[in-house]
């Protein structure tokens, strides 16, 4: 198999890799960069556990072939917390009890991040739609929805001058 060279940005750092073209973005993230925060739940784009941001939009990384990320920006869950500070979504998921086994959590947070980047004041229906591709078997979703609302409120309060 002829290898391909792909240049992209991963969590803010430029990367260049030469790999088999049949690798998915998920495999590259987990097996090459060993960023295991991104999970595999099905490998078929059905569960959302592997969700990452591609140029700010949530995608199932198991459905993205590595060549498709050429020149693009990839953000994984590890990219949301830098230097000890966590994203408002990570903080709200912890506080609201939106985490149980936690295996869906990184993907869920990335879908929510994509939503909040686009819409800082989402309705409950908009939140449900944004995470409808992310399966969770533990929580029944109630506290996840609350956590996303809480993060949106906290971000807004932060922008208004308060502490997040």
């Amino acid at each position: 198999m002829e290898k391909v060279t792909v240049n992209f940005t991963l969590n803010g750092e430029r990367q260049s890799i030469t790999v088999n073209p049949n690798l998915t973005l998920l495999e590259v993230i987990r097996d090459i960069f060993e960023l295991t925060g991104t999970k595999e739940g099905c490998g078929h784009g059905e569960c959302g556990a592997c969700t990452v941001l591609l140029n700010g939009k949530a995608v199932n990384s198991c459905l993205v072939l590595i060549s498709q990320v050429e020149g693009k920006e990839v953000t994984t869950i590890e990219g949301l917390s830098k230097d000890g500070s966590v994203d408002p979504l990570q903080a709200s998921f912890i506080e609201a009890g939106a985490i149980q086994c936690g295996y869906c959590t990184p993907g869920m947070i990335m879908s929510a991040k994509s939503l909040l980047l686009e819409n800082s004041n989402p309705s409950v229906e908009e939140i449900k739609t944004a995470i409808s591709g992310n399966l969770c078997r533990c929580t029944g979703y109630a506290k996840i929805i609350k956590a996303i609302q809480l993060a949106a409120r906290n971000v807004k309060a932060g922008e208004a001058g308060g502490e997040v």
């Binding site: 569960c47 966590v86 295996y103 969770c136």
Partner: protein, 759 residues
Amino acid sequence: MSEFKWVGKAYPRVDGYDKATGMAKYVTDRFFPNMLWGAVLRSRYPHALIKGIDTSRAEASKGVVAVLTHKDVPGLNAFGIINQDQPVLCKDKVRYLGDSIALVLAESKECAYSALDLIEVDYEPLPVVSDMEDALKTNIKIHEKGNIIEHVRITKGDVEKGFREADLIVEETYYTPRQMHTFLETEGGVATIDQDGNITLFVGSQYPNRDIIQIARSLNYPMEKIRVIAHYLGGGFGGKDEITAQILLALGTLKTGRPVKIVWNREESLIAGQKRLPMKITLKTGVTKDGKLLANKARIIADNGPYTCLGSAIMKLAVEHVSGPYYVPHTDLEGFSVYTNNCIGSAFRGFGATQATFAIECQLDLISKKIGIDPLELRLKNALRDYQSANLGHIPSPSVGIADTLETLKNHDLWKNKGYYLKTDKPYLKRGIGLACSHQGCGLGSFFPDYGAATIILLPGGRFALKIGCPDLGQGNGTAFVMIASEVLCCNPEDIDLEIGDTRSTPDSGSTSASRTTYTGGRAIIQAGNKMKANLFAEASRMLGVSPDSLELRPHCVAVKDSDLKVTYAEIAERLSKENRSLECYARFDWPTADLEFKEALGLPHFIYSYISEMALVEVNVLTGEVRVLKAVVSPDAGRIINRQGLEGQAEGGTVMGMGYALMEEIRQVDGHYMNKDLSTYIIPTAKDAPEIETVPVEKLEASGPFGAKGIGEAVCNPITPAIINAIRNALGINITKIPATPEDIYFMAKNKFDLLRS
């Protein structure tokens, strides 16, 4: 004000940060240098003889290091918690499509899976047993001993007398589906071996200590050279209680000397993994005209698939729970657990009580309709009370909160103002409200040793290490353990370093299953904590020169009562260190058992139960048959609440899981073959399906429990299923006896009643 500092509060998970940041390493997240990938060859036929296995082409394939078959299993080529009837690698027969025939070990996952196609197996297909009733009658034997794994019959009173005295007798048969746990992290893990032959597994498991017994037996290997670590886990729900990939992982690393990783893909998990076993439950129930339950006769058949796993125990729990949390003077309860060539049935949250709850709670609504009594009043009238005899004739521990949970629903606005909630503005939308009750035996039941154990160590700086075997599958027992320890030791949860689920470093505390973990672990922690407290008093008494009787715990220190004189935990730790000493306290707690034991049905009955009532508001579109669950109100009685946030999380998650069971989830099999094999065709609820859920707990304290707590992890998924079905009955007046009640089913059942298109 609460008498507790931590217990009963809504406390965020101790592992929340690691999980939210992606730092938590799950068992399938582990990578090791020089690691091999393992892939398992599954059966081509649901039932066949194996005439030969040729692995030579696969062995010659690029990247393949070894191909293992039954010949490579050094010890007992079988496993099973109850009966060792499941082969590690099949030798001469396959009994379902998930059977393991060979293990390929290769340099990459891709090499391993592509080599599977190169293994040649010579099969002689056999007729398939796919129906549980047929399994009882047919002369096709799945195992030599026949198709009945276990048969039990337990009677109380005189059921025929009960029927004679009854004003109404209702007979109905209920069918439940094969439900998949759908934990997001599939079965699997990684195993390593060191130069001294010590094998370490990171693997999805609910009871690492028991895994070691099964691995050692099949590998003919010393138990002390095997270590199993089950942390972190991406869900379990019962599906990781029995062996999944453990023995093959250990075998792979033993044979190659290299780290081995096996992670079942989603399709393998669906085909080979254990499932909630389908049941056919026939009930005959006698009742007086004013709604008093007199007699209940049940015949239960459970389709266990090809191997026992925990299936026969699950059938027995169905027998135990099939008359509901009610006082019924006369019962005659019979159960069969049978082999078929379908998917394996084993533990799944609720463990037989779920199936039983569906049957009896639908039956009660039928009765309520026939005799014209309000369904809530009917249940309240029959609700079991403290010191009454339960359905197997035993007296449960007097923490019977079922009536309290019903009263909670009765006083809820959704029940009191039904008329308001039932209104819709479209003629094709019909709303209904339904309710159901359930109970769940906590622990392993009579006969089986059931214990918990914990170790607490005082650490430098005045912190504590808390070590306990039971893994946290995700439900939050780890956080509950830390809260309980913080309460006893008068410190903050942040001052406790929790270690769980590691056979080398944590004491055997039994399985994380059976609604037993917080109760058992909690009691062991309290006992270990009290020992630690006594030791801290002794040290402080020596350091302060006062009598231990004059001392009390204050935050992070031992202090003299009514005085400022104190010594901190940190100071005690420092002093001990200087004296070359340390403080480590171990305690074991053994379960109390019921006043009755059945030699013919080991494990029955239970002594402590959690109780729960739940109601659901549904809206049915009669043009499409679609059901939306709009709201659920759940009233659990888990005794003392340890973590309010954890309890709500369980209630919400269990409700949505039970909703999937009611309306959408089923692995459909025809002649042992699977009709749906992925998450596009096996549908679980998404955020868009989940209802608004309100949790209104009652706390009927259990005297033997930690601060009065009982288990609740399972009961929470039981009542919602019949509550939804009863709500649909309330909306449309149709009698649903088979779940899942899909839109197709409901559409055709409702079609004749509401022919809106014609009008």
